[in-house]
């Protein structure tokens, strides 16, 4: 019987994000949100382990109150218990503060044999919360796992690095971050979705946890955001047009020679 915790983030669906081209601001109000892709892989992996070895899958998120829709999705996939950490003072927490909130949550509902996280979130992609959480808890870590195996009190994972693929083994309790190659997350059935809608989601605020207010939110963050802007696109946008494909091609070739990028 393994006790597994999966940390999930409700992320902005970046593929549907729109930009106001005049101000270069992102239109985040009402932007569609979803479980961050790699967190779904982590969930799927946890559920597969449970199906094979028996046990319980817990899931936790830190975020706004509506992040519980993310937890509903996790429950529908097969998680047993869901916890939402939501408090106005948690808003704008960076990775330092977020991993602290998660660590305090785990101290309350843990211990766990295995904690799984996605390699990074699809919106901020910093790949820090998992490693920071492992440090806060003082447990071994394997990052970027694309295959995972539990045997006795050890977890073995294969990870892809730039120059090699490495198989690592650590003793549990341990934290593993997973990549999307690890599995294909299941799509919950209608029945599973309906069953999940009746499950309880534990909603905790700062007061329910032993967190210091100076260590969460903006005050507890080590990095301060100055601005978020769509990148500038300064291109010449010169249209090349000839009477025929041949003439167009010749004009283009000449233009590129003049730019000095062809013919050297």
């Amino acid at each position: 019987m393994v006790r597994i915790l999966v940390c999930v983030k409700q992320a902005i669906d970046v593929s549907q994000l729109k930009v106001d081209s005049a101000t270069r601001r992102l239109i985040t109000v009402d932007a569609p949100k979803k479980i961050s892709d790699f967190d779904k892989n982590a969930l799927e992996e946890a559920i597969r382990i449970k199906e094979k070895l028996g046990g319980e899958v817990f899931t936790v998120t830190v975020g706004p109150e509506d992040a519980k829709t993310t937890l509903r999705e996790a429950l529908a996939m097969g998680a047993d218990k869901a916890y939402s950490m939501s408090d106005p003072i948690f808003e704008n927490s960076d990775t330092l503060a977020t991993s602290y909130i998660l660590a305090e949550t785990i101290k309350k509902i843990g211990p766990f044999d295995l904690i799984l996280c996605g390699e990074a979130s699809i919106d901020s992609f910093s790949a820090q919360v998992g490693p920071r959480l492992a440090e806060q808890l003082g447990i071994p870590l394997i990052t970027y796992a694309r295959r995972l195996n539990l045997e006795g009190d050890a977890v073995t994972a294969e990870r892809g690095l730039e120059d090699c693929s490495q198989t690592m083994k650590v003793k549990m309790p341990a934290l593993v971050t997973v990549t999307k190659e690890i599995n294909e997350p299941r799509i919950p059935s209608l029945m599973a979705i309906m069953k999940a809608s009746k499950k309880e989601i534990v909603m905790w605020k700062a007061a329910d946890l032993n967190v210091a207010s100076g260590k969460v939110g903006v005050n507890g963050s080590a990095v301060q955001v100055l601005d978020v802007l769509a990148p500038k696109m300064e291109r010449k946008k010169i249209v090349i047009k000839g009477e025929s494909a041949k003439e167009t091609a010749e004009k283009l070739a000449k233009a590129l020679v003049q730019e000095g990028v062809v013919g050297r």
Binding site: D123, E162, S221, R235, A253
Partner: protein, 325 residues
């Protein structure tokens, strides 16, 4: 906080280490401080001298047989002690997967901030170090500052130039021996080297990109032909790799980020994730039948036309032009 001084650089990847020295020496100039390289390993003394030639004013060397292999727990322990003892104001770490884990965990141990994958770092008029990185799948750049020190930032490959080697450069090499090295918690069971393509698309001067406008995999020969004439390489978009399974790699935010002198997008619509991977190209040419395709907004030269007609004609025109030059 004010007793933190100096810029440190570290990467287990030797090429990236040199690029960090290049960026680091610019920043030390702006911050009025010194540049220190950190080397962890075994039998690495010669490497220290080399880094002095590449601009390190100081090299901290921890030379120990326990550091022969990159074991993240042991390396992390060493870096934590060094930064706690010597307090740099800024620590640049190479953004490999190993480096990113190392940086995040070091930041956690020191309870400080870490900005990963910085595309730019500069000192503003208030003397603050300002970082820039891509977020939201390539849709935005976030500008951030640190509220804690040491400020830890990771930097990807090929973002900054490697400095010139100067044999006459002088620097101090410090051998650190009073450090306690912890044994790794993780056991490396197996290492399988992966074959790295001999020609890297990141290093190509010219890249021809193919997208969904190509109907069949065989049609890539039109692009191959053009690449040959221009001495370039062919790259693909994600749908060709992921959906059509023609290739295993792609150019874009989640794949290879490139910055060639010339990028020719053929039959590519230009979704934001792809554009994020080619943004730093010097000149972008877009060839597409759809004048409204987003790629047109980010091209220097636009050809509205069928790539099956335009590309062969373009290859022919180039062949003539280059033969006469």
């Amino acid at each position: 906080m004010s007793d933190h001084r100096g810029v440190w650089v570290y990467s287990e990847n030797k090429d990236l280490m040199l690029e960090l020295l290049g960026k680091g020496s610019k920043l030390t100039g702006e911050l009025g401080t010194k540049l220190t390289a950190v080397i962890l390993g075994h039998d690495v003394k010669d490497h220290a001298k080399e880094l002095v030639g590449y601009g390190a004013q100081k090299v901290i060397v921890v030379d120990n047989s326990q550091l022969k292999e990159f074991q993240v727990d042991t390396y992390l322990g060493a870096l934590t002690q060094l930064t706690q003892q010597q307090k740099p104001e800024l620590f640049l770490i190479g953004s490999t997967r190993r480096g990113k884990e190392l940086a995040a965990r070091l930041a956690a141990r020191l309870k400080v901030g870490c900005v990963p994958d910085c595309l730019e770092l500069k000192v503003d008029d208030q003397g603050r170090l300002v970082t820039e990185r891509i977020v939201y799948g390539g849709n935005a750049i976030v500008t951030q500052v640190f509220r804690t020190k040491p400020q830890i930032a990771t930097i990807p490959r090929r973002r900054f130039e490697k400095p010139e080697y100067k044999a006459e450069s002088q620097g101090e090499i410090i051998d650190v021996t009073d450090i306690s090295l912890e044994p790794p918690k993780a056991e490396i069971v197996e290492i399988k080297p992966i074959e790295i393509a001999e020609t890297k698309i990141e290093e190509a001067r010219v890249v021809i990109g193919g997208g969904r406008g190509l109907e069949k995999k065989e049609d890539f020969k039109i692009l191959d032909e053009l690449a040959k004439i221009l001495g370039g390489q062919v790259g693909y978009t994600r749908p060709l790799a992921e959906d059509r399974k023609w290739f295993t790699e792609w150019v874009g935010l989640s794949g290879h980020a490139i910055s060639p002198e010339l990028y020719i997008a053929c039959g590519i619509s230009g979704v934001i994730q792809h554009v994020a991977g080619i943004r730093d190209s010097k000149i972008v040419v877009a060839i597409n039948t759809d004048p409204e395709a987003p790629i047109m907004e980010m091209a220097d030269y636009i050809v509205v036309g069928d790539l099956y007609e335009v590309i062969p004609a373009f290859s022919e025109a180039l062949r003539k032009l280059l033969a006469s030059a």
